[in-house]
Amino acid sequence: MNSNGKKAILLILLCVVIAVVPLIVIKDSEFGGSDDAASQAISQLTGGEEYTPWFSPVYEPPGGETESLLFCLQAALGAGIFGYGIGVLKERRKYTKE
């Protein structure tokens, strides 16, 4: 493997470590979204009572399962197109070289 490949693997490992360390170090947290934390802060700033949003989402996924499905779909669509692009470019280079 060339030095670029090794560098890439090291860097990917570093990313994994950055993402996993909080899971191990911080025990009592659900890792909720930071926007939930922000809405609590807004409630505090507006005088302690729960802030009521003046507009509700047009469509809200009915529960966690459907939401994770849609998030998966988003990631899959993106990764699919991205992977297709890399594949096309890689193969093209292989054949134009010969």
């Binding site: 507009f55 989402p57 988003q74």
Partner: protein, 253 residues
């Protein structure tokens, strides 16, 4: 953009800036219904000139650099994937990268305003993540401020003679981080604290968004640098065509 289009964008920018100041801007994704109406409108209006510039640039790329379209599609897809990844952070909450730095560096920041708003629309309509009323504010932070900062950091890093991949890392990471600083500012402007005003609120929101974002921004910087490394070895011609590969990437650094 040609001269006529440039004049149009500048005129639009002046009009929109003027229009957005009038509704008293006393001045991540902000959730649906969490931003007072006048702020929603003001941020929306500020976005318009950037959309116009993005549209013209996108049109130019599509007609003049057809070969590079696959790379453009990949930049859009990259933002799509990255903004779906909710990564746990050291603050005990999680947040996601933006993925807008890559496209900004390769194609220029205005193009990302269009690609970014597509991602935000998907999340607002299907996931109740962000929102339609806050679309303008979220577009400004994620699809405009972030990419423009990424682009500026990239150019500046090259001026300072930093290696290209280091420049890409810094650009993507800082662009990501600034997105959430802008989100904090947007919320602080809308919800100034009783004691300390906008500044105190800004500190509060920065404590939530920006601190959570630091490790995630580092991850985005690393991944973006890896993607640029890969693209430069497989799509050198395309990158040359869009003016990215000037001088090439020295991989052994």
């Amino acid at each position: 953009m040609n001269k006529k289009q440039k004049k149009f964008v500048v005129a639009l920018a002046i009009i929109c800036l003027g229009a957005s100041i009038t509704p008293r801007v006393n001045a991540m994704h902000i959730m649906e219904g969490y931003l007072p109406l006048k702020f929603c409108i003001a941020w929306g209006i500020i976005c318009i000139p950037f959309f116009a510039a993005g549209y013209f640039n996108l049109k130019r790329i599509v007609t003049e650099h057809r070969k590079a379209l696959i790379v453009l599609a990949m930049c859009g897809a990259y933002a799509f994937v990255l903004s779906a990844l909710k990564i746990p952070s050291v603050t005990g909450s999680s947040s996601h990268p933006t993925g807008t730095g890559l496209g900004a560096i390769l194609f220029g920041p205005s193009v990302m305003s269009i690609l970014g708003v597509i991602v935000l629309l998907f999340q607002a309509l299907l996931l109740a993540h962000g929102g339609l009323t806050t679309l303008g504010a979220n577009t400004f932070s994620m699809a405009i401020a972030g990419p423009f900062v990424a682009y500026a950091v990239y150019k500046l890093s090259l001026k300072c003679k930093l290696p290209k991949l280091t420049a890409v890392f810094l650009a993507a990471a800082l662009g990501d981080l600034l997105t959430y600083c802008v989100t904090s500012l947007q919320l602080a402007l809308a919800y100034p604290a009783e004691v300390g005003g906008v500044g105190a609120s800004m500190v509060k929101f920065m404590g939530i968004f920006a601190v959570t974002q630091v490790p995630i921004a580092i991850i985005e910087g690393i991944v973006t640098a890896l993607v640029v490394m890969t693209l430069s070895s497989y799509a050198g011609n395309e990158l040359k065509e869009i003016g990215f590969m000037k001088g090439g990437i020295k991989n052994e650094q």
